[in-house]
Symmetry: C2
Subunit: 391 residues, 2 copies
């Protein structure tokens, strides 16, 4: 393994401030769930806070579909903060004054870690559509190699929202002795047919783009912008609640006029907003990664190999659980979190479940919310107390 | 005006049996809401049942986004029945033994009535993207010209689901003396931002298809199949409920295997189903019509010109109303029907509202459901009793 130097912060204000991504090439072969072996792979990650003496205060942040390693603070020359800056920082719910927080860009993604845009050592060209299919357990396995690189034997907590929560649950089953807590936010034990349907439409949008070139667009110096923008627009609608879209955009017009006697095109604000979001996303995300990771989401089925019995699955876990849901989340609704909680209770596990009222749909897990902040912060501060108590 | 001969049925079994579409060219100029005048337009329609002596038992069926004139019975050489055959026929809720039922393909659509695929008399080429923007009131105005052609002075009822319900409501405001009843099923007084969002994504999917050629694909002997299939897939997901998709498809696989050690592609049944639905739709629907009619849906806002006050709007109505909603419909949820009903009550109108329990989402309005059949049939049979009582 090789790695850049760490870059820990210990700011007293509410931001982790300037952060520098690090990277490591894991030289140890990684056998994926599909059977393919990655001889080595690169991981880009960030850390916030300081690892304590007994290396027991590590928190692993697991990102979702479009996430990356940049969860908090800002990069040099940039003011934009990381995707979970609302929740990670000094004095924040995931407190960088008390925890050593590790946020990694997972393999298959497109922010520096090995993925479809990386060079395939066998061909010297980008993997493209040939990148092997991935499962959440492959991300867990890769994260565990990073954990070993960081010389951490047990995470204080593995934390994630959406697909991130799936990784936290998978950690609890695969490596029960290597995490103390799993924090599972706005997640699900498996996707519904409707979830899969939206993912498939997004994939078809990408594949239908003439510039997709069967996934080998990079070799043709092309990018399937339109298809990827469409995919993002579809996803985006499922992250927001009907209520919130109503409050934020309603039927407000961006241009044109609904008066009679007009033939000018009418554009609603919501159309303009979604098109903007789609275009912006297609500038930085990789289309093959989008296909790969939505497939990973579809394939995730926590209890599949436990005879489809979530209680049997969770009987393998040893950590404590915090489960969080949001009332207006219709992608992974509170029912999904309740199912997780019910299975954990039936398996005799230690679980706390908080159902948060929010208008913000699935995206609520990223956004400020007083009760959510208090609950997550309270849960983790008790954990920090115990760690600092010298246990 | 010119028209083919009528083709009324009076079968005693439960089907209207063989039907033959009719057509009329309305030579009277139609001034559209946008100000453009259609000098003449063709309408294709079907009728079921017999017009009574005083021409008072006419029921107008208003179709939705992808509907057509073929609502009941079957065409020569075909076994497939019309889209509302569950509800229209001898002894059925919309009883062809008692009513003269008129079902018309509306302008802007693509089943024979004047629309984007028709020849633009000014250019000699298909209208394509140049077909003028339409509003629901334009459909009402055109239907009224058909009504005059049929020498009907007042409909016993105007009936429709979804966009069809919007036409029924618009009829009640625009021509209050020309209908006795409006039956408004699974509809809304206006689309939400989420509804508009899904429509815009569908339109973008069509426009992004390289074969769309800015709407002039017919001139290039092309059809934007992929884009239209995607548009339909998006729409289709919003017509079904999460519950129903779960019951029908769940996580069943069409091909591949989720076992570890497999790299073969995995396809879920829901993916296969949606792709099939999309492909099938793109074989017969016109892409410009899809864009035009989804825009019509977005623009519909019953109370816009009544100071956005639905009570003020409905104060112009004179007919009686039946409003129907379905519990799992998340496209036009029961809340939307309740808003219609509340406004009608506040306007002092005669309204009955039935909220039907159904797992079938928005599509429930097309599907067999005992309570819905009884309620709609009961409501209309009382109307037939009054008509036949010589009132």
């Amino acid at each position: 393994m090789s790695s850049d130097s760490h870059n820990n912060q210990n700011n007293q204000d509410s931001s982790v401030g300037l952060v520098k991504p690090q990277q490591v090439v894991i030289e140890q072969p990684l056998k994926l769930a599909c059977g393919v072996i990655l001889p080595s792979h690169r991981l880009v990650y960030e850390t916030y806070g300081t690892l304590n003496k007994d290396r027991s205060n590590g928190i692993l942040i697991c990102h979702a579909l479009s996430g990356d390693h940049h969860a908090a603070g800002h990069h040099e020359g940039e003011t934009k903060t990381g995707w979970w800056d609302n929740y990670i920082g000094p004095g924040k719910p995931i407190d960088s004054n008390r925890f050593y927080i590790v946020s990694v860009n997972n393999i298959g993604s497109c922010f520096g870690s090995t993925g479809p845009a990386s060079e395939n050592p066998e061909t010297g060209k980008p993997y493209g559509a040939d990148f092997p299919p991935l499962r959440a357990r492959d991300w867990v396995a890769s994260q565990r190699l990073l954990m070993q690189h960081l010389k951490i034997k047990c995470w204080a907590a593995v934390v994630g929202g959406s697909l991130g929560g799936m990784q936290a649950m998978r950690w609890s089953l695969e490596h029960p002795d290597e995490l103390q807590h799993a924090v599972v936010i706005a997640s699900s034990m498996k996707l519904t047919a409707q979830n899969i349907a939206f993912n498939e439409i997004a994939r078809k949008a990408i594949k239908s783009d003439a510039d997709f070139c069967d996934g080998n667009y990079l070799q043709h110096n092309k990018v399937p912008h339109n298809g990827l923008a469409l995919a993002r627009m579809i996803g985006h609608v499922t992250y927001l609640s009907d209520e919130l879209m109503g409050q934020k955009f309603g039927r407000d017009l961006r241009s044109g006029d609904l008066l009679q006697g007009k033939t000018d095109p009418v554009e609603f604000q919501i159309e303009s907003y979604l098109n903007y979001q789609g275009d912006k996303f297609s500038d930085f995300f990789d289309a093959n990664s989008y296909i790969l990771i939505t497939k990973m989401l579809d394939y995730f089925d926590l209890a599949r190999e436990y005879n489809h019995d979530p209680v049997a699955a969770f009987s393998h876990a040893k950590c404590k659980f915090l489960v969080v849901s949001f009332s207006s989340d219709w992608r992974f609704s509170p029912d999904r979190s309740q199912e997780i909680t019910d299975a954990l209770i039936a398996a005799g596990k230690n679980v706390s479940y908080i159902a948060i009222d929010s208008d913000h749909g699935h995206d609520a897990f990223l956004l400020p919310n007083e009760r959510y902040q208090k609950a997550l912060g309270g849960y983790l501060s008790k954990l920090a107390d115990r760690l600092e108590g010298g246990s």
